[in-house]
Every structure is written in structure tokens, then in C-alpha cells.
């Protein structure tokens, strides 16, 4: 995660610095900050028109607004930007819908090379894991060996593939596949269609015919996350000519900032349902709009900290925490408190990676993943208040009791204590950085 953010936010931070210690957002402040935001969004491949509308909206909202006491004007603008970005991306995760009358049919459509065939396999795999009985249908009769590719993928996954070769009309193949699914009790059908340019009328017509013939539950547009300014045209065409119900973003495991996601969402109004994030067949996951918003802006660090500092803590508590950090009185109780706050925010590693000036290297010592968090919580909750405030009293028998009480092992208890120590060390360094820059303290870090 850190890689997206490295370097990207430095320019913005500079701009923000200039805007410090003013009580109200002026037009001049705004112009400077919005220019940086505009460039950041454009470099992330968000469509130009959308960026323009977006910046106008931000300016309207921000101008003349009183700056919250805890923020600088620049931070305040970014806070507004982030809120609007999430608004634009959609704030909640959108799930695949199923037909009340099986089979539920899904058509995967998109440009050549977007990753339809692979995604078809991945989605089938996901459905299978959810207890569905999927059937993959090979309707791409044009690309050489496309059918073979789907068959190989299906084979790997143990999911049957319906094909009738490349001589028949795709509409007939699709129709026949539904009959086949009905007779063989498949409850979900994934139709892999031929990749096409959105301006290819003939092939778009074919898609419409397939749609009319099979009445899909959903048409899913597969979009390469690396798509540039043209994403708008692609989404507009497929959405306008064919109608789509959702989007799958592929190749998000690269280093693209993925502005296409924003463009596609803005133009079609349809939710992005899945993100494909790797080459393996289980590398697909539900799409979280909020995370994407941060990634696109490439300022996840700054804005998340602002957001989190605000949302999670009132000023007094934050001050207390800062003091604790400085004086190294951060206890396991605070750690637990933090963990519970963070559950709303993302993983600890994510949070740490958002702090400007900290590289991924610093994270290696703090090995905390999300699944572990639940166990860690259980461990701390199994401690007495005395133990939580002073872990040094944890002798072997106490550790044994805690392990039994939390349903974990002594090793895990030990690991937690070690992680906690590492974190404390890291936090100490961080508060030093904060002092050095004179900036971080202002963020009211939620630690």
C-alpha cells in the first residue's frame, strides 16, 4: 500500500504547509490547493470532465467555510475532497444479486484485453465457494483460442464449461447454455462474451441479442483499472447501448491509481462490485469504494489521518493520547481501545502506512494483520486491568491463564506482547518525527 502513496502527497503537503494558521478558507487558498488536487486526479486518470465538475463542487462547498480548530485550511479542503470523493464512488459495498428463479445468468462484457475470460473463472470460483453451482459459457467465438482458455480455466477450478465451438452464433450458444443449465441444475451461469471495441456496432448488436435471448440477472462490465481518459467513452457506450448492472475492475494489483473507477462510476452510476487483484484464481474480492477513493487521490495518508483524527477522537482524548505517546505511557488498554477504533478504519498496517514519512520498511517490525486483530483483542480482554497497564508483571502462569481464557496459545500471547513493544518503539519514533516536522502533532494522531 505504501508504494501508491510514496512521493505522491509531497507536493500537496507543501501546498498545505503554506496555508497554515489561517482561520478561514480564502479564494486564493482554494485555488492553490484545488490545482494540486486537479493534477493529482488527472494523473490518476480520472476523466477531465469529471475532474472539472468535481473541483467546482469542492470550491463551492469550501469557500468561506470556517476552518475547524484542529485543522489547517489545506487540510479542511482535503477533508471536503475526500468526503466528496466517497460520495462520488458510493459509500457502501455493492453485492451481486441473484434471481429468485435459478439459474441466475450473468453476462461479462468489455473491451479486448480487459480480462473477461480470467474474471469469468475467478467469479465462478467465488460463487462456487459460496456454495453455488456455476456453469461457465464460452461465447467468444472470435478471439483465437478464447474458448480453449476458458476451458483450461474451468478445468483448473473444477467448474464445467459449456461450449459449442466457434462455428455457431454466440446468441444460439448462449440460449442453449441456459437450457443446459436448467436441465443439469446449475444455479448460476457466467457468460464470457467476445471482447470488442465499444464503437463496433456489429458486435454490440450481438451482445444485445444475447441479452434479449438469455435475460441476464446482471450484465457486468469488465474494466481494466489502467484505462485512461477513454474509460468514460467505454463506459458510456456499454451502459448506453447495452445497459449494465455493475462493474468489475481488473488488474488492480498493479501500481495504477485507478482513476478509471471513478470515471466509470460517475458516468454509469452503476456500482463497482468486484476488484480483481492478482493472477491466481482466487484473486478477486468485493470492491470497497472508500479505499478506492483514497487510492485515486493518492493522498490517502494525509486525508485519512485527517478523517480519522476527527471521527475517532474528540480533542481532549486526542491530547491525552498525544501526551501518553510522548511520555511512553501507552498501555495495552490504549492499544485495545485503538484496535476497536481502527476496526472502523482498516488494518493497523494500513493506518501506519498512511502516515507521511514512514516507509514500508518501518512496518516490517509490526506484524499485525486484520484477522489477527480479533485474536489480539481477545487476548487483551483476558487480562486484568492491572496487567493491561503494566505488561511487565505478566509471568508464565499469568500468560498461561490469558492464553486459556482467550482461546489462543502462549506463543500468541507472547507475540502480542512483542508486537506491542515494537509498536511502542515505532510510536516513539513517530512522535519524534512529528516534533521534528512540527506538523504531525496537528493531525491528532489516533494513537
Amino acid at each position: 500500500m505504501a508504494t501508491f502513496f510514496e512521493g505522491l502527497s509531497s507536493k500537496l503537503q507543501e501546498t498545505i504547509k503554506k496555508l497554515k494558521s489561517k482561520g478561514r478558507i480564502t479564494e486564493k487558498d482554494l485555488k492553490e490547493v484545488t490545482r494540486e488536487i486537479k493534477l493529482a486526479l488527472l494523473e490518476a486518470d480520472v476523466n477531465f470532465k469529471i475532474v472539472k465538475d468535481f473541483i467546482n463542487k469542492i470550491s463551492e462547498r469550501a469557500l468561506g467555510q470556517d476552518v475547524l480548530e484542529s485543522l489547517t485550511p489545506g487540510q479542511q479542503v482535503i477533508k471536503i475532497v475526500h468526503e466528496e470523493l466517497i460520495e462520488l464512488m458510493g459509500s457502501s459495498q455493492s453485492k451481486l444479486t441473484f434471481s429468485p428463479k435459478p439459474p441466475s445468468v450473468y453476462m461479462l462484457v468489455g473491451l479486448q484485453g480487459a480480462g473477461k475470460t480470467t474474471t469469468c473463472g475467478k467469479l465462478g470460483n467465488l460463487l462456487k465457494k459460496q456454495g453455488k453451482n456455476p456453469l461457465l459459457v464460452a461465447c467468444d467465438i472470435y478471439r483465437p483460442a478464447a474458448i480453449k482458455q476458458l476451458q483450461v480455466v474451468g478445468n483448473q477450478l473444477g467448474i464445467p464449461v459449456f461450449s459449442m465451438g466457434d462455428k455457431l452464433n454466440p446468441v444460439d450458444i448462449a440460449k442453449a447454455s441456459i437450457e443446459h443449465a436448467k436441465s443439469k441444475q446449475y444455479d448460476t451461469v457466467l457468460i464470457d462474451t467476445a471482447g470488442r471495441l465499444h464503437i463496433n456496432e456489429e458486435l454490440m448488436e450481438e451482445l444485445k441479442n444475447i441479452k434479449n435471448a438469455v435475460k441476464p440477472q446482471e450484465i457486468l462490465l469488465v474494466v481494466d483499472a489502467m484505462t485512461g481518459q477513454d474509460a468514460v467513452n467505454v463506459a458510456e457506450s456499454f451502459s448506453g447501448k447495452l445497459g449494465i448492472d455493475g462493474v468489475i475492475m481488473t488488474k488492480l494489483d498493479g501500481d495504477t491509481r485507478g482513476g478509471a473507477a471513478l470515471s466509470v462510476k460517475a458516468v454509469t452510476g452503476k456500482p463497482i462490485k468486484f476488484a480483481a487483484i492478482g493472477e491466481k484464481m482466487n484473486d478477486i474480492e468485493p470492491f470497497f469504494p472508500e479505499r478506492m477513493a483514497s487510492r485515486i487521490l493518492g493522498m490517502g495518508d494525509v486525508l485519512s489521518l485527517i478523517e480519522k483524527a476527527q471521527a475517532a477522537y474528540d480533542e481532549k482524548k486526542a491530547l491525552e493520547m498525544e501526551k501518553k505517546l510522548r511520555t511512553q505511557q501507552f498501555t495495552l488498554e490504549d492499544f485495545l481501545d485503538q484496535m476497536q477504533q481502527m476496526k472502523k478504519m482498516g488494518s493497523l498496517t494500513d493506518i501506519i502506512s498512511m502516515i507521511p514519512g514512514l516507509s514500508a520498511k518501518a512496518l516490517k517490525n509490526v506484524n499485525v494483520d486484520e484477522k489477527q486483530m480479533v485474536r489480539m483483542e481477545a487476548i487483551i480482554q483476558s487480562m486484568t486491568p492491572g496487567e493491561r497497564s503494566d505488561p511487565s508483571i505478566l509471568n508464565a502462569s499469568r500468560r498461561k491463564r490469558i492464553a486459556a481464557g482467550s482461546g489462543t496459545s502462549i506463543q500468541e500471547v507472547n507475540k502480542l506482547l512483542k508486537d506491542f513493544q515494537d509498536l511502542k518503539k515505532l510510536l516513539k519514533n513517530m512522535s519524534n518525527i512529528g516534533k521534528g516536522r512540527g506538523g504531525l502533532g496537528k493531525f491528532r494522531m489516533p494513537f
Binding site: G113, Q229, K251, G254, D255, T256, R257
Partner: protein, 302 residues
């Protein structure tokens, strides 16, 4: 149909986009001022030229306008054309494959059209009288070998392949032996699509190169990076990262027949100095063409 006409046809959508907007801008301004430059900058950015490169082009344009004391907005079009041509004319656009055999390694992220481009390059070279051998070294993607084989048949060239999952290095090794034995002029190696962020796969590329360097010592070598015209600013990152591992000598820009403007090649040539060598303007065998920067810009701006 001449190349120029074909390119123009393929670029029709692109052309409309850029020129119409540039004309709109130029017509709507009675005089040349800062706002005009800003609007032109926008036009470039919407063509995926990228923020940095667009700013640079416009700043050069601004300088030229000032130096030549141009006052009529209508004169700006030619000047902008000149600036763009200047960037695209920096590198050598022809393939350097004069030794026999010489090697072309085709690289790129997933889904840009590597396999298809290889089929088309093979056909192009064969028609120029060269004997071509293809190495099916994408042993990773399902059915990639089958796909390449179909293209090899269409292009009427030889293909050397192993089974899926085989060591790509071994395929390349065998293909070199075959190319030598059959007195081939050019060996074209397919490679598995890889996101440039996957370091181990990038290492595999280096291995392929080591084999070629060892077995074809002194032979001309082209590393062609295939880019999808619809790709945005990430293409720069792709080109940069591939360049860290191998010496990328040229770009093949595919899918220019869509509405994508492919402006990203201008950014790549400007920022990284890698020239475009071939462009794909359609799905048919002969829809891959040698790139001519002047014609490209003319077609774009006509």
C-alpha cells in the same frame, strides 16, 4: 487503401476528438492569451498525454509564440503540430533487425495484445521477405500457446512451442536452435503478460535475455513493449519498470481504432525517450503498421 488513409480511418474517432476541440478552442479565442494556452493544455491532457508532458509542450509552444510574435490563434495549430512532431521524431522508428537471425522480444502487461501483435509483426516481416520463427514463451496464460499457434498459421510462419507451464527459457532456447537450423532471419519471442509490479516475473524476463545474449551473440535485438492505447498514465509506469529490467527499444501501440487517443505515447517518448515503432489500427492481419510520426500527427491534426 494507402497507409495514410488507413491510419486516418483508424484514427477517425481520435482525430475528431482532438482536432475538433483544438479548433473549437482556437476559434473561440480572438487573441492569444494565457487562457488559450490553458485550454490547449486541457485538450492534450484529455488525450492521455499526461499532465507533465502537456505542461511541457504548452510551455514550449508559449515560448515559440512569443519568439515568433504570433498573434493570430489560427496559426497555433501548425505550431502545436510542430511541437508534437518534434517529440515523436526523436528516436529511430524502424526496427533494427539487420543480422540473421536477429531477435524481437515482445513484452507487456496482461491484455494489451502481445500475442495478436506477434502474429501481425510476423506477417509484416514475412511479407518483406524475411523468414520468421516464433517462440511461444508465454507458457503461463491458459491457451496462450494455442492462440499464438493460430496466428502463426495465419501469418504462415514457424512456431516453436512447449506445453503450458513449461520453462519459458527452455522454449526460447529451442526456438533459437530452430531459428539457426532453419536459417531464419528473425526470431520473435512471446512472453507471458505480467504486471510490471511483479518482480519475480520480471526476473524471468531477464533470464530469457541472458539465453538470447548467450546463444545469439552479436545479434540485433529489439525489446518491444506493447501498450494498449486505452491505457492511461500507468503506461509510463509500465514503460519505466520494464526499462529497469530490460532495455526497451520500442513501443507497439495497439487498439488505436477505438476512441482512445493514445496520447500516452507522446508522454512516453517525451519522458523516457522510447520511440513508437508499430501501431495497431484494427483487428485484421494487416492492421498493424510501421509507425510514422509525421503521418501520425498529421492524421491526428488534419
Amino acid at each position: 487503401m494507402s497507409f495514410f488513409e488507413k491510419l486516418k480511418q483508424g484514427l477517425q474517432k481520435t482525430r475528431k476528438g482532438i482536432t475538433e476541440r483544438i479548433d473549437q478552442v482556437l476559434v473561440s479565442f480572438g487573441k492569444i492569451d494565457e487562457e488559450l494556452f490553458e485550454e490547449l493544455e486541457e485538450v492534450l491532457i484529455t488525450s492521455d498525454v499526461g499532465v507533465e508532458t502537456s505542461i511541457k509542450i504548452i510551455s514550449d509552444l508559449r515560448k515559440a509564440v512569443k519568439e515568433k510574435k504570433v498573434t493570430n490563434p489560427q496559426n497555433i495549430r501548425e505550431m502545436l503540430k510542430y511541437e508534437l512532431k518534434k517529440i515523436l521524431n526523436k528516436g529511430e522508428n524502424r526496427l533494427n533487425i539487420s543480422t540473421s537471425p536477429s531477435a524481437i522480444i515482445v513484452l507487456g502487461v496482461n491484455g494489451v495484445g502481445k500475442t495478436t501483435s506477434i502474429g501481425k509483426i510476423a506477417s509484416l516481416l514475412r511479407k518483406e521477405g524475411k523468414k520468421v520463427v516464433i517462440a511461444a514463451a508465454d507458457t503461463f496464460r491458459a491457451a496462450a500457446i494455442d492462440q499464438l499457434e493460430i496466428w502463426a498459421n495465419r501469418a504462415e510462419v514457424d512456431i516453436i512451442k512447449h506445453n503450458e507451464g513449461a520453462d519459458p527459457g527452455a522454449v526460447v532456447y529451442d526456438a533459437i536452435k530452430a531459428a539457426k537450423a532453419r536459417n531464419a532471419d528473425v526470431l520473435i519471442c512471446d512472453t507471458a503478460g505480467r504486471l510490471h509490479t511483479k518482480k519475480n516475473l520480471m526476473e524471468e524476463l531477464k533470464k530469457i535475455h541472458r539465453i538470447i545474449d548467450r546463444e545469439l551473440e552479436g545479434a540485433d535485438k529489439e525489446n518491444l513493449l506493447v501498450l494498449d492505447a486505452t491505457t492511461g498514465q500507468n503506461a509510463i509506469s509500465q514503460a519505466k519498470t520494464f526499462s529497469e529490467f530490460v532495455n526497451v527499444s520500442g513501443i507497439v501501440l495497439t487498439k488505436l481504432d477505438g476512441t482512445a487517443k493514445g496520447g500516452i505515447v507522446i508522454a512516453i517518448e517525451s519522458e523516457l525517450g522510447i520511440p513508437v515503432k508499430l501501431i495497431g489500427v484494427g483487428e485484421k492481419m494487416d492492421d498493424l503498421q510501421w509507425f510514422n510520426p509525421d503521418e501520425f500527427i498529421d492524421a491526428l491534426m488534419e
